[in-house]
Structures are given as C-alpha cells and as structure tokens.
C-alpha cells in the first residue's frame, strides 16, 4: 500500500537515527519518485498545483502593471490612443501568431512525453525554442525602431509629443520588457528540458517537468494575448482620421 515504505518508523525510540541502513522497502519505486510522495500520481498533482500557485503570483505581478495601464488609460484616453498608433501592428500581430504557434508545439511536446515519443518530444521542444527566439528577434527590431523614432521615455523623448504619451511608452516598455524577460527565462527552461529529453529522462510514467515548464510557457503566451490588443490596437480605429477624441 501507499505508506508501506514508512512502516516501522513510528516505533523507533526517540532520538535514534535510522542511519544508512533504514528498513525502507524501495524495490518497486520509480527512481524519479521523490521520497516525500506516495506515488507518481501524487507527485505530478503536487508539482502541477505548485506551478499554478506560482503562476497565480505571476498573475498578480503582471496584474499590478495592468492596473496602472487601466488607470492612466482612463485618465488620458486620447493621448493613449494616439501613442498606441506609433506601435507596429504587423510586428505585434505577427508575434502574437508566433507565440500561438509556440504554444501548440509546447502542448504537443507534453503529449509526446506522455506517450513516450522521445523524437517527437525533442523536435517539438526545438521548434518551441525557435518560435520563442523568433519572438525576441522581432521584439529587438521593434525596440530599435522606437529608439530611432525618439519614443523611448526620458530626455530624448520626442518633444513634439504630449507628456502623457511618455506614460504610455513607459508602461509599454515595462510590460513588454518584463514579458520579454519571461520569454528569455522560458527559453532557458526549455533548453534544460531539451537536454533532459535528449538523455531519455521522460516517458509515460515521468513527464512532470515537461508539463510544469509547459504551464509557464503557456502563461507567458497568455500575458501577450492581453498585451497585444491593449497596447497595439488601442487607437487602430483612429489611424485613418489621424485625430483621437
């Protein structure tokens, strides 16, 4: 039964150490099962729940920035719509599609791990990493364009533009910058998962690390799903007329 490996511990005299010759029954254990879990199912459920608790803290972390966005946009709707029109909808929209592609290959990688398909897992992880890198390369060209057009907040911000637009660009750079930092971390995690997959670490019985890293990857995708319409498309219906409010 589940607790067979702990039998006998309760009757040890106080202060006696079990030492190296502990009478644990281990022969049927998966080597990937940590000692503090009863079985692989419990281990997977615990790690999934743990990752979600971390993601909830991430929701609140990005949530504070979205809160600032809501308030300033409420105060300066016209300036924000006009500032939004400086962003490149093609680059932002293209990057949204790139992230969606990376999410489907990530989900597919988890499926391959669950089925024990090592080759499929490795290919999907590599494609996921490539999509993630594509996103960051596009972001690099976008940021470079903003520097060239004097849209970066600070002493070199275009003096012809209203100060309220600096607020928009401050939040644009903080939100997309922190999002990009999460992408860099995600790619690093995926490289580790890729190395572990290469060594054949995962299979139908043990795929928790792939699944849990996938949750993080999908979360970063979700943040962008909200950032794209809120930052890039805010003033799209004004662009024809040129004037906002």
């Amino acid at each position: 039964m589940a607790n067979s490996h702990t039998s006998g511990e309760g009757v040890l005299p106080a202060g006696q150490m079990t030492g190296g010759a502990a009478p644990h029954v281990h022969e049927h254990h998966d080597p990937n099962l940590q000692h503090h879990f009863y079985d692989m199912d419990q281990q997977l459920e615990a790690s999934t729940l743990g990752m979600w608790v971390f993601l909830v803290t991430e929701i609140m972390f990005f949530g504070g920035l979205f809160m600032a966005y809501i308030l300033y946009r409420h105060w300066y709707p016209g300036d924000w719509a006009a500032a939004s029109n400086h962003l490149n909808v093609w680059m932002g929209g293209g990057n949204t599609l790139v992230l969606i592609c990376s999410s489907v290959t990530m989900a597919w990688a988890v499926r391959c791990a669950q089925l024990g398909k090592r080759k499929g897992l490795i290919v999907n992880l590599i494609v996921t990493i490539l999509f993630g890198t594509t996103f960051l390369v596009v972001k690099y060209f976008e940021y470079a364009e903003k520097f060239e057009h004097h849209l970066v907040p600070g002493p070199h911000f275009d003096p012809a533009l209203p100060q309220q637009q600096q607020l928009f660009f401050s939040l644009y750079f903080i939100m997309t910058g922190i999002h990009a930092a999460h992408m860099v971390v995600g790619i690093g995690i995926m490289l580790i998962i890729l190395a572990m997959s290469w060594r054949g670490k995962f299979g139908p019985k043990y795929y928790g690390p792939v699944e849990v890293s996938g949750l993080y990857w999908h979360f970063v995708d979700i943040v962008w799903i909200f950032l794209f319409p809120l930052l890039y498309l805010l003033g799209a219906h004004f662009s024809a007329g040129g004037a906002a409010h």
């Binding site: 729940l49 608790v53 949530g63 308030l71 699944e211 996938g214 799903i225």
Partner: protein
C-alpha cells in the same frame, strides 16, 4: 499504487482545432480594432482576449483534466485580479462624487 484514475492525453486533433481558433481570433481582434464601435471597441478586444486565454488555459494547459483543487486555485487567481481592478477603480471613479475638499 495508482489511485485508479488515468491521465488523459490531449489528442492532436484537439490541439490543432484550438490552434486554428486562436489564429482566427487573433486576425479577428485586429479587424475588429480597425472598425469604430465607439465605447464597445475595448469590451470587444477584451472579450476576444479572454476567450483566447480561456482556450489556452483549458486545453493547452490541460486544466480541464486537472484535479478540482487546481481548478479552484486557477479560478481564485483570476478572481483576485478582478478584486484588485474592481476595488482600485471603484476608489478612483468614485472620488469625484463627493464635493468636499481633501476627497
């Protein structure tokens, strides 16, 4: 040792139907933003974004196959976010209601 429940593996067909839907919704949100719906532009954009995020959470993150405890944690996370938005904006939007100094 197993508690008897099997882990459901998401079929490839489901992954690609969700992928196609997300793709179409992304194009739809760009097209919708270019139309002037007045005050409705933002609710439409947010509605599409919430739909897309829900698809990712339910299918790609496989929350629908997860334990009830995980589902509650996920919902609580987003609910807490709404509490923050609601209370903060409730404060800012209601300040002008009082015609007193130091409001």
């Amino acid at each position: 040792m197993s508690k008897g429940h099997t882990h459901v593996i998401t079929p490839v067909s489901t992954l690609f139907i969700v992928f196609g839907t997300l793709f179409v919704l992304t194009i739809l949100t760009v097209l919708a933003a270019k139309q002037d719906f007045g005050a409705l532009n933002t609710p439409i954009a947010l509605g599409i974004a919430v739909l897309k995020a829900s698809l990712v959470v339910i299918y790609f993150m496989a929350v629908r196959y997860n334990t009830p405890l995980t589902k509650v944690v996920v919902l609580a996370g987003f609910f807490w976010l709404l509490i923050m938005f609601g209370l903060t904006m409730g404060d800012y939007l209601s300040r002008s209601l009082l015609g007193v100094p130091g409001r």
